[in-house]
Subunit: 344 residues, 2 copies
């Protein structure tokens, strides 16, 4: 019973083809006809059927957004809404919609992506993560389906369009920052190393140590899983070291606050006894005590540019491969302190 292009055509005394062209605002249709047809469309409250249009035009005007739900929820919390907002802002401007997929396991994600691609559900895909040896990414690359990643790809970096922060650099910068505050014992609490973001930050940390001539020690590095299952005792152990750290770099603000809580139980005060700096700059981090020094990673931008890049590829299948690092800012608050050291 819904009103179709035929109803409009009949009412307007034109052919369905003409109505279709009016919808597409085809320049070959006279303004007069357009006006007439539009008036009828309005009057009959006509809305084009997307399924039919997509089938005929072989495009869906929607982009698929894939999130890994293995990324810890903690990380998703602030990230997800912002990145989606960025994507939507760009997609909206080009009249694209968003098809969202949150697989459970990696396998489920893979299968859903395959069915999105093969089933022609979407015109392009944004991967909201970059993991090591990701078959979903490999698949997309193999079949040459338009896609974009938020996160530096682990492999084929030069063949894949992506957007990211320069995580190696920001980790490096953060260590430099602490170094210039006088810190020489700097620990690192990292993220899940299945994700490139975590690898990059660890690498930046290590490289910075080398650059300033500090030794890297495994005793100063706590692993994501380790921290999750055993956080409290790992922090205890860290602080019991002969040379305990005077500063900690944490992978995420949530992790930083968890650390701070454990430190408190040991009567170690931030920033007086130990400095801490982390990444991602959650909305709460400005308010709670101590206000956290954290790297703002411009999540909105990340999503916005990912969508822009994708749309370029969708509209021009041989658009050049692009990378872009969106700028970050170290937001200094009150979790770090300058310390005096004799050798400076």
């Amino acid at each position: 019973m819904p009103v179709t292009i035929f109803d409009v055509a009949k009412e307007a005394n034109v052919s369905p083809s003409t109505v279709s062209r009016v919808i597409a605002d085809n320049p070959r249709i006279s303004e007069k006809t357009k006006r007439k047809v539009r008036e009828v469309m309005e009057r009959l409250d006509y809305h084009p059927n997307f399924q039919a249009r997509n089938l005929a035009a072989k495009s869906t005007k929607t982009i698929g957004v894939i999130m890994s739900n293995s990324t810890s929820l903690a990380f998703q919390n602030p990230f997800f809404p912002e990145v989606i907002r960025g994507i939507c802002t760009s997609a909206h401007a080009s009249q694209y919609g968003i098809y969202l997929s949150t697989g459970g396991t990696e396998k489920e994600i893979y299968e859903e992506v395959v069915s999105m691609v093969q089933g022609k559900k979407v015109d392009g895909i944004i991967l909201l993560y970059s993991r090591v040896d990701d078959r979903t990414m490999a698949y997309l690359k193999d079949v040459q389906f338009p896609f974009t990643m938020v996160g530096r790809p682990y492999k084929y970096e030069n063949e894949i369009t992506y957007i990211d922060n320069d995580n190696r650099k920001i980790a490096h910068d953060v260590v430099d920052y602490l170094y210039h505050l006088g810190h020489r014992q700097i620990a690192f609490i990292g993220g899940n190393l299945d994700f490139v973001v975590s690898k990059d930050r660890l690498e930046g940390y290590q490289q910075a140590l080398i650059n300033v001539g500090l030794p890297y020690s495994d005793a100063y590095f706590i692993h994501d899983e380790d921290f999750k299952s055993n956080g409290k005792s790992r922090i205890n152990k860290l602080m019991m070291l002969d040379e305990p750290p005077t500063a900690i770099v944490a992978h995420d603000d949530l992790v930083a606050y968890e650390i701070i809580r454990y430190l408190e139980e040991l009567s170690v005060q931030v920033p007086n006894d130990i400095s801490i700096v982390s990444f991602n700059n959650h909305s709460l981090s400005a308010y709670v005590k101590p206000p956290l020094t954290s790297v703002d990673i411009s999540i909105f931008e990340l999503g916005f540019e990912a969508a822009n890049f994708l749309l370029e590829k969708v509209q021009d299948s041989n658009a050049a491969v692009k990378h872009h690092f969106v700028p970050t800012t170290l937001v200094e608050r009150e979790s770090c302190k300058r310390i005096n050291i004799f050798n400076e």
Copy 2:
């Protein structure tokens, strides 16, 4: 060039109709034929085209999720990923996908919903909010399109299927909780009153006051917009009252922490000088100082049940109207303190 039902049919020596029935796992097809056809589908790597299937079958197997982005970002942060996770979990189980829409203005949301409905983009819609006098909701109700709300509707409560917390009750309970700790001066920092959730919580607060025989005073109520533009001076004013509150109920944990910061600047300590309790129980609230007493609203459940209800309606157009309040729990942490009062 994609492989279609015809290619499969030819290869398997059956008709396209039969292939279609095998895809739908129609019981009238013999197991033998099914096996043969499935083997061919596998071999040719056949995947059904969704657009075509949807067009012919007049169903899309996707549900639309509408979020208001006027809800302050603060509120969305923890809410959004969890509620989506709940929706996806349910949708996935029934092989449904998610089409996400985040309009800018209310008008944009309305228009996108109309085009989703009329354009047959989705089989049903979940409104992730309930606002006062919402034309989007009114439209959905008018055209009798299957939809569900996360949030109690402002009007037509008995005609609309929704899921929510019992916000009046939890606000009431929270006031009771403070009352039993000895508090008699209880202030309320509310949310945006365009949303029913805020109205309900305010109402619960007021009702609880009445029930325990405490007066309601406008001086103890700070309005969302007021707080956003003027938070610090409003809190100052509140504390300068002849009878300043001994306890505050805050609309959200983020708001609570902002309040705590302003209080600190006034050298008012939580919980020693003033108690504070809030709603929504963010993931950070367990970690930061002071750990916040907050009502956990079971966000995952909210999303999960909303999707369940919707799917029922989609599959059975005259399914009964349903409401359900998902249970909440007051998570006691360290932001509230018992005080002694003479009249107890």
